[in-house]
């Protein structure tokens, strides 16, 4: 345990150096996730003809869309994870054996590698935060400070669901040739059910019910809803509890998938 604690600062340092070295790649990644901004255009064009009513009785005008999608963009940057592709690549190339040799759990290494990108991502999203604060969307942000605390906790929860889902799908590549296609399906479902393309509030009621029982909404939709002041505090806490339940389930599930899978690993080539 003490050895592990001593290793973590070094891992952070190495990871951060790597993150800075591949900053161009990260910028490309950020540019590739501008979908919420495009959806923002679509919805403001729709709202121009008149506010959009939802089934729950809220009316969405262009200001609320601005707040929603700018926050969605920021949240996506902060929760994103790409471990599934990395694991797939390393399993296929056999380079995973390098990780297995080290006296630290590989999942912890992936975790550190993801976290070190957060400062860089925060720098990239900072201008968007400023734009948000001076945009018509600012009026539609949550006002109560306590809800912002719940928001922070929900960001951590969303990140956990996303990261451990990545590990779980990545670990499937031990048993099948490649789990990249499963990741494709996961992302397609994420797009529809997370509130990434449209606020889930605008879904018909039965689809909203479906989304409430799937993990995707808790990755991205919940933090965004909290920041845009949709939920009262008790409601927010109840939703947070659900989110963390999902996070715990993914944590346990992905670690056991990893343990079962890694036994089947045979390094190929170099």
């Amino acid at each position: 345990m003490r050895r592990l604690l001593k290793a973590i600062p070094t891992m952070l340092q190495v990871g951060f150096a790597e993150a800075v070295a591949y900053r161009a790649e990260m910028i490309i990644w950020v540019l590739a996730t501008t979908m919420p901004l495009i959806m923002l255009m679509v919805w403001t064009a729709v709202a121009e003809a008149g506010p959009v009513p939802s089934v729950s009785g809220r009316t969405w005008e262009s200001g609320s869309f601005v707040a929603y999608f700018l926050v969605a963009f920021i949240v996506r940057q902060l929760i994103s994870s790409w471990a599934a592709w990395e694991i797939n690549y390393e399993v296929r190339q056999g380079t995973l054996s390098m990780r297995l040799l080290r006296p630290v759990h590989p999942v912890l290494m992936y975790l550190v590698q993801n976290l070190v990108y957060l400062p860089l991502r925060a720098v990239v999203t900072a201008p968007v935060v400023v734009i948000l604060l001076f945009s018509p969307g600012a009026a539609h942000l949550e006002k109560h400070w306590a809800t912002w605390l719940v928001f922070a906790a929900s960001l951590a929860g969303g990140w956990m669901i996303n990261f451990f889902a990545n590990i779980a799908i990545g670990a499937l590549s031990f048993t099948m040739e490649s789990s990249v296609k499963i990741m494709d399906v996961w992302i397609a479902a994420f797009f529809v059910f997370s509130g990434y393309l449209f606020p889930l509030d605008l879904f018909p009621p039965w689809l909203r019910e479906v989304a409430a029982w799937l993990p995707f909404r808790y990755q991205l939709g919940l933090p965004v809803e909290l920041a845009t002041g949709v939920h009262s505090l008790p409601e927010a806490l109840a939703l947070l509890a659900r989110q963390w339940a999902w996070a715990a389930a993914f944590l346990v599930g992905s670690l056991s998938l990893w343990r079962v899978g890694v036994r089947r690993f045979q390094a190929y080539g170099g």
Partner: protein, 264 residues
């Protein structure tokens, strides 16, 4: 010329044989393509929702669905014929194996462009045709023969532009080598093409018409099918695509001159 046609036939056959080897992929790709088509259509349902929602100004539900259908068609082309080659070149440049391509006695751009096809992506084309059929059923009339002809011309134009953009991206790989996710970037920018270009305003509208001509690729053909595209726009699109192709070819030749191979 006939030599290049023969080469193309050969490359396509290799890809087809390779695809036939992974028959399971046929099923998996089929399911995934239906899934992706659904994700392209669902937002449209949410935007138009029930009758109480105004939708995108100037575009009815059926008309917007035509744009989405055309988008899925092009996405199939992109994923099936254009992206696989891009990934292959990036890999070649990183490993230095592009030397072997350059040594062959045929045009390098031609060879890398036709090196790999994902044959099973024909699924997306089928999906697109179904969506287009549904859209026109919803609108209640069939497209005119002239409209179909114009749309087909624009399909060629769009493929040409997509291909040129692709060559430009590959050229970037000569300068910054670690660009594995360039394809991802390209597809996600292309994603904006699923919406009628009427939703984009100001600078972005300019960018999506002239710099990354998404409007030309999906909105124009949809308008042609709906019978409301001005012939002038068609001529502009054709000329524009020629300019694009010329620029792409120039940049490709310049960057390949800078290629210095890599060890091992």
């Amino acid at each position: 010329m006939t030599r290049y046609l023969r080469l193309l036939g050969l490359q396509v056959r290799t890809s087809a044989l390779l695809a036939a080897q992974y028959r399971w992929d046929f099923l998996v790709d089929g399911v995934i393509s239906i899934f992706w088509a659904a994700t392209a259509v669902v937002p449209l349902f949410v935007v138009y929702g029930d009758a109480s929602r105004p939708g995108i100004p100037g575009w009815g539900f059926g008309e917007a669905l035509v744009v989405t259908g055309w988008f899925i068609l092009l996405q199939g082309l992109l994923d099936g014929a254009i992206n696989p080659g891009l990934q292959a070149v990036v890999e070649h440049i990183r490993k230095g194996t592009l030397d072997f391509v350059l040594l062959k006695p045929a045009d390098a751009q031609f060879l890398v462009s036709t090196a790999r096809f994902q044959v099973w992506r024909v699924f997306s084309v089928a999906n697109a045709l179904v969506i287009l059929a549904l859209a026109f059923q919803r609108i209640g009339r069939a497209p005119s023969p002239l409209g179909v002809l114009m749309a087909l011309v624009l399909l060629v134009v769009a493929t040409w532009i997509l291909y040129s953009l692709w060559i430009l991206i590959v050229s970037a790989a000569f300068f910054v080598v670690k660009v594995d996710n360039l394809t991802y970037l390209f597809s996600s920018i292309f994603d904006a093409g699923r919406w009628p270009s009427a939703v984009f305003r100001g600078a972005l509208r300019f960018v999506f018409t002239f710099v990354i001509p998404l409007a030309v690729m999906t909105t124009f053909p949809a308008e042609a099918l709906l019978g409301r595209l001005a012939p002038r726009a068609l001529v502009g699109a054709v000329l524009g695509s020629l300019v694009f192709a010329a620029i792409a070819r120039g940049v490709w030749l310049k960057s390949i001159g800078r290629y210095t191979s890599a060890g091992g």
